[in-house]
Amino acid sequence: MDPVLTQTIIIGLTGLICGAILAIAAHFLAVQENPRIEKVTGLLPGLNCGACGFAGCADYAKAIVTQAAPVNLCQPGGVETVAILAAELGVQAVAAERLVAIVLCNGDDSRAARSVVYNGIADCLAAEFVGGSGKACRYGCMGLGTCARICPVSAIRIEQGLAIVDPAICIACGKCVPACPRTLIKLIPESRSIHVLCHSQDRGPDVKKVCSVGCIACTLCVKICNGQGITMNGQLAEVDYSVPLDNDEVIEKCPAHTIHRRTGRKPEKPA
């Protein structure tokens, strides 16, 4: 017989038989899958950061397709992703304003006093068990960098014992928020630029003892802006981020230099 023919027949028949076996098996063992889930997964950024509240991009995609979850939950994706998803699924969705994280403490080593020497694991959660990393303030940043380590995009750095978020890099995944045992990190709309960088509930004199830039609860800022944008929460002035606030007077008048302007915006992209 012609070797070419033999070859063709053998391989052809083998292929046929194998194919048949697989076809039968596939019929009996078929698993239903929704092709749209995969497509939507592809449209998401794939960071698996969990900011949407689902276990990862694939999970969120599944929820969008099967449970009609809102399409504007993806923080890293931002406006573009929301638009793409909305177009893909034929739904109306408004992108929420981009958020950025901010650390509400300004007590670095030059401003916050140290009271004891901490001997233990270099981790904020671990240090909180023994009352902190040695800084006298019980409310401020411990500076051991748990938030910096958890940040998937390295947007947080530790400078002189203080965590600082770089808003240009932050993707607002929110992982750092629960990571801070002192709940110092907040996600805020990026257009808000005035912040009370303190979290201390201590009374003024006690704050003064431990930090040179802590809020002493003088309530001056609240009076200046008539309670619109800054309110008192116990012994602490807090910015109400739901209200736009753009008043340089509060910064200038704050006797403890607790209030600062920090822009949360990404630098404008060159057109």
């Binding site: 694991i121 023994v130 019980r138 509930q201 009374r203």
Partner: protein, 454 residues
């Protein structure tokens, strides 16, 4: 009363130098009333108490200054008469911020109630006895501070067969319970009598380590007054013999199931100090406003056992003990193995403060960041039979799933692993960190499950 030896011997444990000689033979002394008392409203486990007084109020000794805020909560009383000068958040000895009531004492010590409760308490139903205990603000004085009235009210279906009175006092340095057993054995036994009324058929086991033969003898003598199934049990001296789960095992041979409570093996453990306080509350109507504690340590001039009012600042206690001898390196509230390091002298005595330890500076830091060398000493020492070596590495590298698989949640934080570790790793801190992380992992997982099912 006969003294029997415990039948069961748990695994693990350590034998640190007990350092009790300095204070074990010293009678308890009562310092003068301090000028200022700082009474925390979060001395117990559970919801912090609701303050009943405000700045400027005058209070009398034994007057309730804070009420329970929910079932698992407790009351707090003014330890002496005086004026409230501050109510607000303060750093407490537990290392956490809590609401504190500061009382400027007037030195008159005027009592709020002078008469013991009328009527024969033995005729009252258990429910009312428990209510008296609640009213007196009694919580577990061994360290955990679980509200006693909650512990004494097991849910329906649970019975208590063995009532264990814990006089083990296995922590080195501490001798307050030891002195209490010697000096107030009668009063402890009276408290046990009250507990017998609450749990009618329970057998009573008074557990004491064999390094305190005088306490064993004293309680054996006093316990003759009790009726029913009562025995004094001599325990092998080891740390952590007095830990609740280990103690129940030593006495009954039953292991409290993982995640369970002593009542799951029909046992109930009360510290001797708590038992004494129960007696005082039910029989004499006195709230819990003072306790015995040991103020000791190599850096202290005159170590002493002290009967201190709740809220006494640590600085007053140290001054009363002659001040420090040489420089202080660390100040520990509690024993050396489970106590809490203080970052200032501002802390004050709470109902769970069993001691105050003043330590000199160490030549080298206690803990280092050296890696685990897998020597297995912690595995041998762990009374819960965990693998602390693996767990600490899992905590270090944040492998929470591994930590969970290796049962980190069963850790009782006794400190045996860190005590024996030749690499000087901060094992307990690793465990606590891993526990918190595993718990949040579980919460996340539950939330995810809920989301998927909904």
């Amino acid at each position: 009363m006969n003294i029997i030896s415990s039948l069961f011997s748990g695994s693990g444990g350590i034998h640190p130098n007990d350092s009790k000689k300095g204070t074990a033979t010293q009678a308890t002394v009562t310092p003068p009333i301090p000028p200022l008392l700082a009474v925390s409203l979060s001395q117990h486990l559970g919801a912090p108490s609701k303050p009943l007084v405000k700045k400027g109020d005058a209070v009398l000794k034994g007057q309730s200054i804070a009420d329970s805020n929910g079932f698992v909560s407790s009351r707090v009383h003014a330890p002496t008469s005086g004026k409230v000068v501050f109510v607000g958040p303060r750093m407490t000895a537990s290392g956490k911020v809590a609401t504190v009531v500061e009382i400027e004492t007037d030195g008159l010590d005027q009592p709020f109630i002078s008469e013991p409760p009328a009527g024969d308490w033995t005729t009252l139903p258990p429910r009312e006895l428990i209510e008296r205990i609640h009213q007196a603000g009694i919580i577990g004085m061994g360290g955990a501070g679980f509200p006693t009235h909650v512990k004494l009210s097991p849910p329906p279906g649970k019975t208590i067969q063995t009532l264990i009175v814990n006089g083990a006092e296995c922590e080195p340095f501490l001798t307050a319970d030891h002195r209490l057993m010697l000096e107030q054995a009668e009063s402890i036994i009276a408290g046990i009598g009250v507990l017998q009324h609450i749990f009618k058929d329970a057998q009573v086991r008074i557990a004491i380590e064999d390094n305190k033969p005088d306490a064993l003898a004293a309680l054996a003598r006093a316990a003759d007054k009790l009726t029913g199934d009562v025995q004094i049990v001599r325990l092998r001296t080891a740390y952590p013999q007095g830990a609740e789960k280990q103690l129940i095992y030593s006495i009954t041979g039953y292991e409290v199931p993982s995640g369970g409570l002593p009542m799951d093996v029909q046992a109930l453990v009360e510290n001797v100090a708590t038992a004494q306080a129960i007696g005082e509350a039910v029989i004499r109507g006195l709230p819990l406003i003072e306790r015995l504690l040991t103020v000791t340590g190599p850096a202290l001039a005159q170590p002493r056992n002290i009967r201190a009012l709740i809220g006494t600042p640590f600085s007053d206690l140290i001054a009363f003990c002659g001040g420090p001898r040489g420089p202080i390196g660390r100040l520990i509230c509690g024993g050396p193995l489970m106590g809490i390091a203080q970052s200032s002298l501002a802390g004050a005595v709470t109902k769970t403060t069993s001691g105050l330890l003043v330590l000199p500076p160490e030549r080298e830091a206690l803990f280092s960041s050296m890696p685990c060398i897998s020597c297995g000493r912690c595995v041998k020492a762990c009374p819960m039979r965990l693998l602390p070596s693996t767990l600490s590495e899992a905590s270090e590298t944040e492998q929470d799933a591994i930590a969970e698989e290796f049962n980190v949640l069963d850790c009782i934080e006794c400190g045996c692993c860190a005590y024996v570790c030749p690499a000087h790793r901060p094992m307990v801190q690793h465990m606590r960190r891993a526990k918190v992380r595993v718990q949040s992992l579980r919460k996340q997982r539950d939330a995810q499950k809920k989301k998927q099912t909904s």
